[in-house]
Point group: C3
Chain length 345, copies 3
């Protein structure tokens, strides 16, 4: 694969987005860039008010923008109600992984069990391993070094990048993208203590990922202890995320990097957890909850909205003084109450 030199006209692009071009549709473009960086063969986009300042001076061939800004655009315009979604759609046109459509076939170094079922257009790359009973639907891609466990199922068009691991009995939906190093279906963290030491609880459940899920590099989604761990449709999971056994995540929810979710917690639909957020076990978060970065949630949340914990960074010498006072906070509150009482008396 060599980085493709995609070339299309503004008219091609407009047709792809089903919108008109204001300007010369014959201009050829070969990529996307920001308003600031775009050259005369690139399309830029204005999706965030903070970048309006870069519009007047852009050298782009054309700008994808909301009609409200069209009059201020010095170059050709591609007007669209949601320019960020438009940019997402255009980005696919220039993706070398999509453009260089990979050939189907099983690489001779891959090890595929005789009884694995492979749909049409399946591609299994070098040194991948597909175990007995696995079912790969049409157009599935298994990257080099990836391992698909026994009886695991992959829906149509799903793509495992290199060195992904799926344990046995995992069920993956359609068009799922799994990035390198992620592990789906490892044992949940279940042990019973007998007063002296630990007894392992075999993790007998599975993992179900819905359609259009994406999981980032080096993330872990553990299998259930008895029932399944369930990830809904269109859930987007970043890198370095941990999802423990029997967690349920609702459709369209997004989890940023380094999130950790403890066992049996249920996160609603359309939630967003910021980077490094931690959820304790056995909680319920309703639909539409947002939690800001590095917050710890130890109680269920029953009302949509934005939630936070923690304290902001400050100079260390100031922080030291304040952090010491945090340990006296209950005492401070009591002293204040006493003073108020005396004052009233």
């Amino acid at each position: 694969m060599t980085h493709p030199q995609v070339s299309m006209t503004l008219a091609d692009i407009a047709r792809h987005l089903n919108i008109p071009v204001k300007g010369d549709g014959n201009v050829a473009v070969s990529g996307l860039a920001t308003l600031k960086d775009a050259g005369p063969d690139q399309v830029a986009f204005l999706a965030n008010r903070a970048y309006v300042k870069d519009l007047a001076s852009t050298r782009a061939a054309a700008v994808l923008l909301h009609p409200d800004y069209a009059q201020d655009c010095p170059v050709a315009c591609l007007e669209i109600a949601n320019p960020y979604v438009g940019y997402a759609q255009l980005s696919q046109l220039f993706d070398p992984l999509a453009v260089n459509r990979l050939e189907a076939g099983v690489h001779p170094s891959a090890v595929v069990a005789e009884d694995a079922k492979l749909g049409q257009g399946v591609r299994i790359e070098a040194n991948a391993v597909v175990a007995s009973g696995a079912v790969l639907a049409d157009n599935v891609v298994i990257g080099p070094g990836s391992v698909v466990g026994a009886d695991t199922q992959l829906g149509e068009g799903s793509h495992l990048h290199a060195n992904v691991t799926l344990y046995h009995g995992v069920v993956i939906g359609k068009r799922v993208i799994l990035h390198s190093g992620c592990v789906i279906g490892a044992d949940g963290f279940g042990f019973a203590h007998d007063g002296t030491g630990w007894h392992k609880i075999a993790q007998l459940g599975g993992v179900i990922l819905g359609d259009d899920v994406e999981v980032g590099s080096c993330s872990s989604i553990d299998r259930g202890a008895l029932g399944d761990t369930v990830i809904g449709n269109d859930v987007k999971i970043d890198s370095q995320v941990q999802i423990a056994h029997n967690v349920h995540i609702g459709d369209h929810t997004a989890l940023a990097g380094c999130v950790g979710i403890a066992g049996s917690t249920r996160v609603g639909k359309h939630c967003m957890l910021g980077g490094g957020v931690g959820l304790s076990g056995h909680l319920t978060l309703c639909d539409g909850v947002q939690v800001t970065g590095m917050s710890l949630v130890t109680n269920s949340i029953h009302k949509p909205g934005v939630y936070s914990s923690g304290t902001g960074a400050m100079a260390n010498h100031q922080w030291r003084k304040n952090a010491v006072r945090f340990k006296q906070l209950d005492e401070i509150a009591k002293r204040l109450a006493r003073l108020e009482k005396r004052h009233q008396g």
Copy 2:
């Protein structure tokens, strides 16, 4: 491997746990489930008071429970002092990985050094790599794509799942379970600064894991700088955990997901660190310390007990007001003291 249809009678189960059945021992069962979900061919358990409410209506074939609850059980009873341990023991009977005993042998695609020593019953799966000088005791299983470094030793019955990496000179005890993506023995983070840049300190120590250790997916345990990093017996480590060079963890300690432990820190026996806990370097935690989720520990702890830091989550608009005040906390405390003084005067 196909998911096994395990079938046994209640009498078989009772015999396995060395307890009597109260009810018909001839009833056949094929799995475990919660009180709520269990059908008439499954065994349920009552190990947590919170689920007593589900006992009266259970449809299970039998319930594993403490004798105190036997009178309230509508179905057959398996009475046991510690039902959670009993559940753990039963869970093993239904584990497909245990039931489908894997055949010994080296897969033809695996690359095993000529001088590696393999005990009886060793199984090395597809595309695994075992380097020179490695010693694998009886019944060791090396999963597909896993790599065992030079001179690394694995004790009897230890099991590496797929895509595990062991560096050179690592020593692993008996019955250790290592989940996919975990890395044992990578270089510790050691660099000396010369005023301009960094000089790498070669990490010359090793890693020793005791017997019955389990390490979750995508966790890292680094090798020592000079001496070894040492993980005691029966230590249970969840996913996404980082253990730095020269850390020592005492026997029976459990580390939940996303824990990070900095260099040379020593954690005692029977400790429990909640999810996302961070320990600074060069600390000592005595036996029996518990730290709640996402707490940061920057000083040694010499007394058993439960420790915490941080603040709980609240609505973001409230949090903003309070978090700003945190930066004024030392000033607030001083103002309060001044007011108290004046009031006394």
Copy 3:
């Protein structure tokens, strides 16, 4: 590979560091150790005042130390201005990976694309995969199970340990060390929301790593959305770190374990981020910023210095009382202000 029995004399060591020996240069030594642990065939070092107490009783063959301490040294002395850097330099002499210089060559089980370019002395280990268009400069080592994506470039002497993954179009400098399980170049976390669900934004940028970079096990560095993610020269990255798309890290900066950096943030040169630190997206940290462990930074920092957030650990029963008061902090501050006002009135 067997752990090497390196043997050299004190004179050899002194010559390597370009310093004199005070004592018998003919004494043979076979390793390094701490002052406390060193035996008569090992060299110890004194790099931290805290260990001066161990100097008088050391059994080492010689001690690497600052000239100020030479008079208190009971054994042979290797005087050097920066003993910690001296120790780092000596450590390389005893590193089995360096001493057992690996032979060049491509293992027969590795899969290397026909059009990949391999320099002199390149070593590709068992079951590694090198894709089309990849360029490996002289003396590059690719560990077992590692995958090098299409068109990815590796500079002279760079070393991938086992099971590393590089995506397509990644550019790696010279003498870079990548530890097992790390993933460079996976897609950044970019999605556009259309009010109903997510549209994937193809990640069209790349990743550039400078010379002398080291990345720890299971860390993730994502590719850029449009431009590149850029890691400067001599940047040291520990295990379990997440670096999101379009982040820039300046030369000589060090990131400890479990750090997470959100998209488009720029970290200056000579910065140090403690374990578990989180940086929000689109920030700028100037050169020379240090952030202490597990702090969250949500605003840019324009002045060198040490920064912190969070609270220290305390006994849980105390913490509960104080954490509750944190939720009242704004109210407490207002009540205090009212009281002060009344008092003045």
